[in-house]
Symmetry: C2
Subunit: 223 residues, 2 copies
């Protein structure tokens, strides 16, 4: 019985890592599509998001079956419930990558991002890609230092998000309304992407240490 | 044993309805704060969001304890897992109401919304308030007609969200960059609020009928 359970639990862990790898690929391609106005790449991100959604559904189904058939308690139970939570975060990260790709596709053949903010968004893209890559690493190694690094990347994303508003509200901003809208939305997508990465990281830390960090503050908003 | 379980399940249902009532109050006050530039009301929404967050944590803890102690299977198990999902959606709806209140607070004593879009946002506010009120009703009555109405309100929110972009991209738009940013973000908050309401509604429908409607399409985005 225990062997079956361990194998099932391993499978759930593998599925989470698989989802995370797909998210990593999605955000990485979405950012390139955004910054280089690459229509085909944008379309591939949009099409591939269905795979992430499907993985989430499969994983959730497996978690519920495991709860029903094995009736885990204590730590085992927390692992399964956390997996349900993490899959929801990863699915949402996939959606956000898709939203970024949709902006790239919507503006093609133009570049969506005005040159005034391109550097900031390139930095956001780097940070978000690191969040995704580190999330995969964290899920496979459970190395808590990786969790701290995800938190740091998220702090950077929040800072860069504020920088985008600084650009918008500066005298040198001469973008069209469409560009203002795109900076606002894409900035928000990256910021939320980081939040979800932190949420996954906190759950892994909790599973390893038993300590679930409360929200360290409210997510940054534009107000 | 069964009596204890039933009582626990009833408590979880009551907690979800309590969360939903707080969300209803939050979105209703946030919208008034936004449309009338009422600082005190905005601040009350922001402060009260902690109660929703706390209710979510309590409810999740109760669900995990129930899984551990009662080891439910079949429908009972699905009810508990769905409750975990629904509490996450309701918590997020509370966050979105708080974000709207934060915009109202950030612009005070000015009105955040330009007169050009005030009517559209008043309509979004009405629809979002109905979504919240109907979510409470659905959680307490499980009347499936209410779920259809939530879906309809969400469709309306998506339409109104598109209308905000139409206003922004029309020749008559003369708002400041700040106003453009606020319309973009607040529109997105309302749109996501509706999505989460639909997500709760689908889970209730699933619990009642066993039929979980797949995503009927991708959420509307601005791209």
């Amino acid at each position: 019985m225990r062997e079956i359970f361990e194998a099932e639990l391993q499978q759930i862990g593998d599925d989470l890592a698989d989802m995370s790898r797909l998210v990593e690929s999605a955000i990485s391609r979405a950012g390139v599509a955004l910054l280089t106005a690459d229509l085909q790449l944008a379309q591939s991100v949009i099409a591939d998001d269905r795979r992430i959604d499907q993985l989430e559904r499969d994983l959730d189904e497996r978690c519920v079956l495991l709860l029903a058939q094995q009736q885990p308690v204590a730590t085992d139970l927390r692992v399964v419930v956390s997996a349900l939570r993490m899959s929801a975060s990863l699915e949402r990260m996939g959606d956000l990558a898709r939203h970024i790709a949709q902006v790239a596709r919507g503006r093609f053949p133009q570049h969506a991002m005005s040159p005034l903010v391109e550097g900031t968004f390139a930095a956001m893209q780097d940070a978000a890609t690191r969040v995704a890559r580190r999330t995969t690493t964290l899920l496979t190694t459970r190395d808590l230092e990786v969790a701290s690094n995800i938190q740091r990347d998220d702090d950077l994303l929040d800072q860069l998000h504020q920088d985008t508003f600084q650009s918008l509200f500066s005298d040198s901003w001469d973008g069209t309304t469409q560009e203002t809208v795109d900076v606002t939305l894409v900035g928000r997508y990256y910021e939320r992407f980081g939040d979800h990465g932190v949420s996954v990281a906190r759950r892994v830390v909790y599973l390893v240490t038993g300590d679930f960090a409360e929200e360290r503050g409210r997510p940054a908003t534009a107000s």
